[in-house]
Amino acid sequence: MLTGRMKFREQLDLTLKVNGREHSISLDARVTLLDALREYLGLTGTKKGCNFGECGACTVHLDGRRVNACLVLAAAAAGREITTIEGLADEKGMQHPVQQAFVDQDAFQCGFCSPGQIMSAVACIAEGHTRSDAEIREWMSGNICRCAAYPQIVAAVRQAAGD
């Protein structure tokens, strides 16, 4: 669609594949993936904490890898698989084991960073970076929690990784 013809456009007709559903929308080229989710698709589970890649609150999965949605243009994400916090539960609506672990371990307070932490944690476990608490801490350091639930977050990742 966008490839090949090399037409530079300011307004783009895009297909965003979010949580298994295709959304066709027309967007200004400036719209980031984060704003596309929040402002145009109504998926507000993904949070904006800084808009500069400095906090991790906007973490989503792009083709299965965790990324900061505020650093990705929606246009660049078109055609890729996007997964947000809203897409983690299974078809029957059962919470993902990482979500359950966050509740079990009290791994949040205000909850604002939690969607980002959880998306990051799911990826951290899939990547296999859970061989020790120190490794979990390092690989979970891209998500700032100002409430500082860090020890509980590590416990939640450890719990979910062991499941």
């Binding site: 490839t3 530079f8 080229a29 792009l62 900061n68 650093l71 990705v72 243009l73 246009a75 700032i144």
Partner: protein
């Protein structure tokens, strides 16, 4: 962000043709470019997404034992590639110390080399006196809060440092930047890639408009190498000062060749050439090591608030030598 147009390039020739036009910026991971546009550091009229160019993200071994890393390879993929871990651990360590897991999934190795300084005056939301952001407006850091600025090679025009971690490792490894452009392309040794700080606003490197980095080549390997990064928080932070060291020991465990680069001390990764020469032939534990390392700092010129970087840099190099020597069988 001001408005721009967007397109995706499918093949290199297409990218090169479009990229030549002034006002066009390549988009790789976007982790720098988007922030530049937010801060008005750059305002390209056209964004050309190059992430769909095929074959530019491969990591291959070269016949001489070296490595060729495609410019679009994502940082995490480079750092975790078995060949990188085994042959050039210093690069793997440098990358894993950079940014966060999420950013490293987006950021490319090519884009990383082209990031701009973290000078807080430059990165301010407002236009402050900064020659790099607005040529001729002055340098607020020169006589301002410059504790995180350069000790080597600065000029009154700009005293900023280059913030990349991978670039420091690549500098110690004598890597080369391979480019393509309309006229063919070139091979630029990384230690000639960056321009002095008083080069023009948009000119941090020798790259020309529309010139595409296609790969990074690392000659040979450096299994005895290390990257150490100092910062106040343990992760997800730029370096205060960092060191990349690649050591070759001879059969008598003397230093046959030391390659040392410091990060966050200059507008480019700073090779301590004088120290490297003085280190050759010494045993890593010898008392003379200290003087040899210190010789690399003879040309350091601290600013009002950053003389500590000389002491820290010196200690870092000494530590790196000791640790690599201890690790080396």
């Amino acid at each position: 962000m001001q408005g721009f147009t967007y397109a995706r390039a499918a093949v290199v020739s297409e990218a090169l043709a479009a990229g030549r036009e002034p006002g066009t910026a390549f988009l790789a991971g976007g982790t720098e470019l988007l922030n530049w546009m937010r801060l008005e550091i750059a305002a390209p009229a056209r964004i050309l997404d190059i992430t769909h160019l095929s074959g530019l993200d491969a990591i291959e071994t070269l016949p001489d034992g070296g490595l060729r890393i495609g410019a679009l390879a994502r940082l995490n993929d480079v750092a975790l590639a078995p060949a990188v871990v085994a042959r050039v651990p210093v690069l793997s360590q440098a990358i894993l110390s950079a940014a966060s897991a999420q950013i490293r999934n987006l950021a490319t190795i090519g884009g990383n080399l082209l990031q701009k300084t973290r000078c807080p005056y430059f990165r301010a939301e407002e236009m402050l006196p900064c020659n790099k952001k607005r040529p001729g407006s002055g340098c607020a850091a020169r006589d301002g809060l410059n504790d995180r600025h350069a000790i080597f090679g600065w000029s009154d025009i700009c005293v900023a440092t280059h913030p990349s971690d991978p670039a420091v490792a690549l500098a110690a490894l004598d890597a080369a930047v391979i480019t393509a452009c309309g006229a063919g392309g070139r091979r630029i040794p990384i230690n000639e890639f960056y321009l002095p700080p008083d080069a023009g606003q948009d000119r941090n490197s020798v790259l020309e408009q529309g010139e595409l980095i296609t790969a990074i080549e690392i000659p040979g390997s450096a299994p005895c190498s290390i990257y150490i990064k100092i910062r106040e928080r343990e992760s997800y932070e730029y370096a205060t000062v960092s060191v990349a060291l690649a050591l070759d020991l001879d059969v008598w465990r003397r230093i046959a060749r030391a390659r040392v680069a410091l990060g966050s001390v200059a507008a480019r990764p700073w090779r301590l050439t004088a120290a490297e020469q003085a280190l050759a032939g010494l045993e890593p534990g010898a008392a003379a090591i200290t003087a040899a390392v210190e010789s690399g700092f003879a040309e350091a010129r601290p600013l009002a608030h950053n003389a500590y970087k000389i002491a820290l840099g010196r200690n870092l190099v000494l530590r790196a030598i000791r640790l690599v020597a201890e690790m080396t069988p």
